[in-house]
Symmetry: C2
Subunit: 482 residues, 2 copies
Amino acid sequence: MKTRRTKISELLKSEQTNIDVHVKGWVRTKRGNKHVNFIALNDGSTINNIQIVADPNSISEDILKKVTTGASIAVNGKLVESQGSGQSVEVHAETIEILGVADPEKYPLQPKKHSFEFLREIAHLRPRTNTFSAVLRMRHAMSFAVHKFFNEKGFNYMHTPIITGSDAEGAGEMFRVTTLDAKNPPLKEDGSVDYSEDFFEKETNLTVSGQLEGELGALAVGEIYTFGPTFRAENSNTTRHLAEFWMIEPEMAFYDLEDNMDLAEEFLKYLVQYALDNCADDLAFLESRLIDEEKNKPANEKSEMTLTEKLRFVAENDFERVTYTDAIDILRNSKPNKKKKFQYPVEGWGTDLQSEHERYLVEKHFKKPVILTNYPKDIKAFYMRMDDDGKTVSAMDILFPGIGEIVGGSQREERLDILMSRMTEMGIPHEEMDWYLDTRRYGTVPHSGFGLGFERLMIFVTGLGNIRDVIPFPRTPGNAEF
Amino acid sequence: MKTRRTKISELLKSEQTNIDVHVKGWVRTKRGNKHVNFIALNDGSTINNIQIVADPNSISEDILKKVTTGASIAVNGKLVESQGSGQSVEVHAETIEILGVADPEKYPLQPKKHSFEFLREIAHLRPRTNTFSAVLRMRHAMSFAVHKFFNEKGFNYMHTPIITGSDAEGAGEMFRVTTLDAKNPPLKEDGSVDYSEDFFEKETNLTVSGQLEGELGALAVGEIYTFGPTFRAENSNTTRHLAEFWMIEPEMAFYDLEDNMDLAEEFLKYLVQYALDNCADDLAFLESRLIDEEKNKPANEKSEMTLTEKLRFVAENDFERVTYTDAIDILRNSKPNKKKKFQYPVEGWGTDLQSEHERYLVEKHFKKPVILTNYPKDIKAFYMRMDDDGKTVSAMDILFPGIGEIVGGSQREERLDILMSRMTEMGIPHEEMDWYLDTRRYGTVPHSGFGLGFERLMIFVTGLGNIRDVIPFPRTPGNAEF
């Protein structure tokens, strides 16, 4: 009969004490003297460790010598009320078995502060740190909240294709997917590469968005969402860009722009509230990490709110809804614009907003999340619905403090003739998108959708500053390790 | 004030009648005469239609003319108890608005039987059919059940990388991901392609499995699972292979082979039970579809059980656990082997089982799902744990009736020295997998995991015969449409 281990998350919540327990995990630290040893043990089920108390009289020196940071052990012992402060229960070890050693001379994760840059280089081990295990658990919690939210609303999760033969989305540079010989590709008579010899008999790329295929689903079963990887082959080495990232893209038949905004706002609040309700321990750790990180910053660079205050603020306050046109007026008349403090002065109507403008609106003017709507058609995609003024489209972007754009969406153009003339205007060949146009030819309906960059959300809920630290194995220019 | 639409799934469950309702959807059929029209309306929220009763005296002929199969309409009316059979409620239309027409001369989905081959060519429209909307809804239900199961068990969903620089997994042919010029790639002095000029500064491919990265997570936080797209560039044109498919791969620290089997069996039963509990209407439709399809087959080719009987059978019966060695004995002494009915006769110990052998074990001998364990090491991957006999590894494959292998897994080799000598034996360079070996150098623990091909599961729960019909946009050799 096997002894079942109890997870540390359960032990720490146990209402029973003086019971035999079996616990396994990785040693975070060991301290003590010749009379007693205290081992902080973690198994990843929670950010909190359980304290193992080992008496050198009953546990051999040979074993205790191997109990070093990073080693894995199995402990049989008694769960008892803790005498010390900081924890409610501890385990008095009867036996300790060494499962795997971790040579202190070589193991890279010694109990000291490591820079995030260093930890990125050992991304295969960094989930064993407090910060990155907290991020991993919260990534799970946020992912589950996404599915739970949409499931409760009757949406269908749809797996849109990752490899796509369609290149009309225009959302950015793409990665080519191929099995052709890299050095000597087959050529056509005119000297160009003969993709008819490639695996899919045409040129294929990694998707930049599942939206267009998502619309096909919504126009059949009403409401769908995607949650999958998307790709941009852009040479951006910033703290906010990845070459491979995860997106959530709901598409809804019969939703107009207002319904779309209502859903997006409800969704974001739900996710943030879910984090508050389900990730209290990890959030508390990340909050104190952030306070620690900002300790030495000048007062004007420190966050005005703590991490949980910021999350609560978003969960509890209505987002400000303002048209692009009104936002331009606000920006034009703003102090930084008049004092020429913006790098890009705001003058005319029609140009895109820069991140400094978005930050001003969110962080200084409204001091809350902002939904910007009805952008000029020329700075938005072909599929966004034309407004009656003929100048703007029914787009909406949600801007978050510290993040900028977290959601981008629109009502989609459901009118075949207008959609086709927009495509012509923007140089998109109709033939290639015939399948998309079919949805407007047959039983077209008003519909809407938006996209949420999952890693942007993760930056917001964890308070981390670099997008490379909220995904397990970041892909950026020159980096595809592990 | 906007009138909110009510979904048809809710209308059909409504306990109130004689209330004003607003319903939108796509016309499936219209029949009737000059006194009354019956419109079967579907909005994708359920496989069932609601009947709209339209009186030509109150709805203009001009409108009714446009109410054709595939057209989208908005109806205001009264929900009343139905006089006819087959439905409990219907809507008596007061107004009908045409949202989008569907020219009966051109719309491809007329109310008649279409072949699955034809529907694959119009995969952008096929979710508007009963069968494919049922599959889409069930794909959602099964996906959600996956997340719910693991969330309840304290597993963490982990996004392992899609683009990988690691090519040691050896699970199959890979797709190259590149931004190099396809025709004139940069070359090194020795004439080979200079991948240091590629986006990631090395050769990169699409992942064939997230397992190895998943292990990194499990060896930090205990229990993780992946659920993401995986890729095989294999030229297989069969009813069971896709170039792009979704896999679920849990990895668990502190699990041995038996724990692994227990989890996999519990998981599969949970998924099947979830389908029975949550997809009754879609299952009923798919079951009758299957009966209809098999109507003209000879008796010995017909399914012995209906679709729901088959699901109930799996949910309620223990899987048979048998070692490879015992299975070989059973097969060697089996009637088809003695009568030379197998295409591949079973003789010695050590060769891999063919699908005909798996089917015999599952469908004829045990007549239930089978877990085959402890395969010869030479036919399994390097990371599977060596058994004490030095001949077999702690692998386990789960075989399902009609599907064959649905799950493949193993206890992982946690002993550094044995793992390294297995890698040497199999020609896998240690340097390339140094990050993987680190997990065995530092705090190694016994651990296990398995992979479930999501589309194989979908074939099982829907009763469809071709894997191309259980994913929205199948990718196969020569096919990457939409």
